[in-house]
Symmetry: C2
Subunit: 461 residues, 2 copies
Amino acid sequence: ITVTSNQNYDGSTDPQFTEKFFTQTLDHFNFNSMGNGTFNQRYLITDQYWKKGYGPIFFYTGNEGNIWDFALNSGFITELAAQQRALVIFAEHRYYGESLPFGNNSFSVPQVSLLTVEQALADYAVMITELKQQLGATDCPVIVFGGSYGGMLSVYMRIKYPNIVAGALAASAPILSTAGLGDSRQFFRDVTADFESVAPECTNAVRGAFHQLKELSERQDYSHIQAAFALCKPPSSPQDIHQLNGLLRNAFTLMAMLDYPYSTHFMGNMPANPVKVACKTMLRGLDLLVNLRDTAGKNSLCKFLIKYILFILKMIFNDPSATVLLQACTEIELCYESNNETDMFPPMAFTKEIRRLYCSKRWAVVPRPGWLKIQFWGDALSTASNIIFSNGDLDPWANGGVRRSLSSSLTALNISGGAHHLDLRGSNEADPVSVVSARKTEADLIAQWVKMERTRLQKFV
Amino acid sequence: ITVTSNQNYDGSTDPQFTEKFFTQTLDHFNFNSMGNGTFNQRYLITDQYWKKGYGPIFFYTGNEGNIWDFALNSGFITELAAQQRALVIFAEHRYYGESLPFGNNSFSVPQVSLLTVEQALADYAVMITELKQQLGATDCPVIVFGGSYGGMLSVYMRIKYPNIVAGALAASAPILSTAGLGDSRQFFRDVTADFESVAPECTNAVRGAFHQLKELSERQDYSHIQAAFALCKPPSSPQDIHQLNGLLRNAFTLMAMLDYPYSTHFMGNMPANPVKVACKTMLRGLDLLVNLRDTAGKNSLCKFLIKYILFILKMIFNDPSATVLLQACTEIELCYESNNETDMFPPMAFTKEIRRLYCSKRWAVVPRPGWLKIQFWGDALSTASNIIFSNGDLDPWANGGVRRSLSSSLTALNISGGAHHLDLRGSNEADPVSVVSARKTEADLIAQWVKMERTRLQKFV
C-alpha cells in the first residue's frame, strides 16, 4: 500500500513521501507464539534525495501521533536530506496513527500492555536493520531525529543502539523531567515566564482572572461562571471548576509551546506569535473573565482548543481514551504542578499519589517511579556520544531537557526565541537568526557523524 | 533469610557470604498487575572487606545455575575485594537456583516466558540501584563480573546500563558466536585442537574410535555397541547412535572447557589437566572403543558424566527439562556443528532449521536469529568502554569472544594455557604465569575504572 503526500504543512519543499507498512514483531521481549505475532507498522519514505547505497539514512523516531503530522512539520530533515543526499524515513510509533497492533482492540487491557518505550525502540532497531538490508543500504550511516517525546526516543536509540544509530538530533526532548529529575514547578513556571516576558501586565491579568473565577466558585455563583465562559451547562461542583481551570491552563501551555514567529497548522491553527496575540486579548478590556475566555477558548485564535481538545486533554491526563496517558502511567513521569506562586495558574498539584490512583483505576497499571532513570540513564549521560540536545527558550519543555553541553560530542544548543522543536521545522522567512544558526550547527555535526560512521562501517567490509 | 557459607570450593579464603533475597519485579516490560507482581531473587553478599560507604561494589551477574556454585568458584573476585576494599554481591539469575519467579510452576508455558536476557539485566539494574540506596552506597562505583554467559551479561550491563555500571570483567564470554557471528565449526574445532596439542595420536585415536562406532552401527551390531559402552540396553536406531555420539562429544567438550592445572569441583569432580589424563586413557590399549568409553564416561575421571549429566546435556540441547535450552531457543544462538573434517567428532549438524523445529516443539517458541546482534551490538562495540574480555586459549568458547583489544578501554586479554574463565578462580599454586599476569592487569584496570567513576559520581553531589 502506498500513498503519496501532496501537501507539506510547514511550507518546505514537498519531499513526496511514499507510505508503506513494515511487518513488525508484536512483542520483542517474549518469544512465544503471541510475542512472535506481527502487526503492520506504518512508515513514510522518500529516496528522491538519496545517493543510492551510499548516502546516509535520516530516520525520524515517531512519537505520539499520526506520523504524517510529524513528517509534514519537520521540513528541516528533508532540507538536510537534499543537502546531504540522504534517504528519509519517518516511522510511526506503535499504538498511534495507523500502527495499531490489535486494530481497534489495541486499547483494551491487556492488549495495550505492549505499548512501552522499550518495544518502540526495538521496533525502530529491527526496522532500520531490515530496511537497510532490503534497500541495499547496509553501509549507510543512520542518523535519528525526533522532537519532544520523539526526541527522547532519538536519545534512547543512540544510547541503547549505537550499533545501529550513529547520532541523534533530539529537539526539545525533556529527558530529565520525564525521568523524575528536576523541579515539578518548572514547567508551569516557564509557561508563565513566556507571558511575563511579553508584558508583566499580561500575567497579572491572567492571575486576576483566575482569582475572579475562584471567588465566583467559592460563592457557588455557577451561573455567572457559565455566562462568562459561555459554557453549555453550568458547573456544579469544585471538580467541575478544577477541570475548567485545567482546560484554561492547557490553552496557555499550548500557546507557549507553539509560540512560533509565523502561523502554523501543527496542533490546530495558530497565528504567528500566539503568546503576544494572547496577551493583547488579555489586556483589551476590563472584564478579565471574558478576556480569559476569549484568550483561551473562544476567539478565532483559539479554535484549536475546540478542534484539538482531545490532543490538549491528552497533554494533561484528563482524557480516558488517549493512550499517551498509559505511557505517562507507566514509564514517563509527567508530574508537573502549578501553585500560583512560581506561576500564574491556580494551585493544581499533581503528586505521585494522584498519578498512582488514576493509573491504577483507568489502566490497571502501577507507575514505577525511577524506572525511566534506571533504564535510560537519567542525567548520567557521560558515556554517550553524538547527540544534539536542542531547545528553544520559549518552550516550557526546554528546562526539562539538557541545556548545557556535557562533552565535545554531547552538544546542547539553545535557540533564543525558539518554541517547541522549531529547529525541526522547515526554513521560514520569519525564523529568528538563532534557529538558522542552530540548524547550521546541526547540519555540520551530522555531516561529521556520518563521515565517522562510514569509516567504522567500512572496517567491517 | 540468611545462610552463611562455610566452604569455598576453589580454595580461596572463605568470604563468608550471607544469603539474602531481593523483592524483584516480575516483568520489567509490562506494567499491568501481572507485570507488577514480584518474586524473591536470591543474592549473596559479603561486606567483610568493604570500606563502608566508600569502597566499590563488585557485582557478579549470575548465569545459568545456582549462585553458590559461581560464588564458590570465583575466588579472584573476593581476593580483589580484599585488596580494593569492596563490597561483594553475587546475584542469582532469574529461573535458576532458588530464584524461581513462579516456584515449581516456573517452567511451564507461559510462565517461562519471563526468562529473557533483557529481564535478567533489568533485574540486576534495579537490584544494584536499590541495594545502593539501602546500604548507603550511592556514591560507590559498581564493577560487574561474570564468566561465560555471566560474562556476556556483564558486557551487556556495561553497554546498556553504563549509568549504573562503571566497568565489566567478562571472562570467557562468547559474545560473538552466540550472536550468530563467526564460524559454526569453530567450537568443536577448538575442542579438538586441545587434544591435538597434547598428542596428535590422541585425536587420531578418538577419530578411530568414533569410526569403529560408526561401522558397528552401520552393520546394526547394536549388542557389540552395548557391550563396548556398558549400556543398560542396546541402542536400537540411528537416533540412539546419534544421541550416544552427542554424549561422547560432550564429555570431550567439558574436559577441554575445564582443563585447569589443578583438580576442581565446579562441574563435577575433575582431575588436574583432564585433557592430558584423557589422552593417556585414549592411548593406553588397543581397543579404541573401550578407551573411548573409559575416557568419556566410565572411569573415575569422568564420573562427572553421570553425576552432572543434566548439566552436560543442557550444554547441547538434549535435555528437555533444562531451561537454559529455552534461552538457546530464543535469543542466544548456539548452532555449533561438528563435521569430522575440522574436528575429530562425527558429523553432527546443528542448523537453524533443526533449532527452529526443536524450539517450536519443546517450548512453543520461535528463535529470532539476528535479534541478539541487534539488541546487544554484535561486534559493533566501538562506542563502549571499560570492558575486559578475558579468554584462555584452551577454552573452546574463547574464539567465540573478543580476542583483540578494540580500543584503549576495550581490552582483550589472552590467558595462555587457560581454560574456561580460569582468571575468575582463586589463586592457586599451579596457576600458569599468564593468569597471574592477567589478574594483575585486571586489578589495575578495575582500580582505574573505580577512580574515574568516583570522580563522575561526586560531580552529582
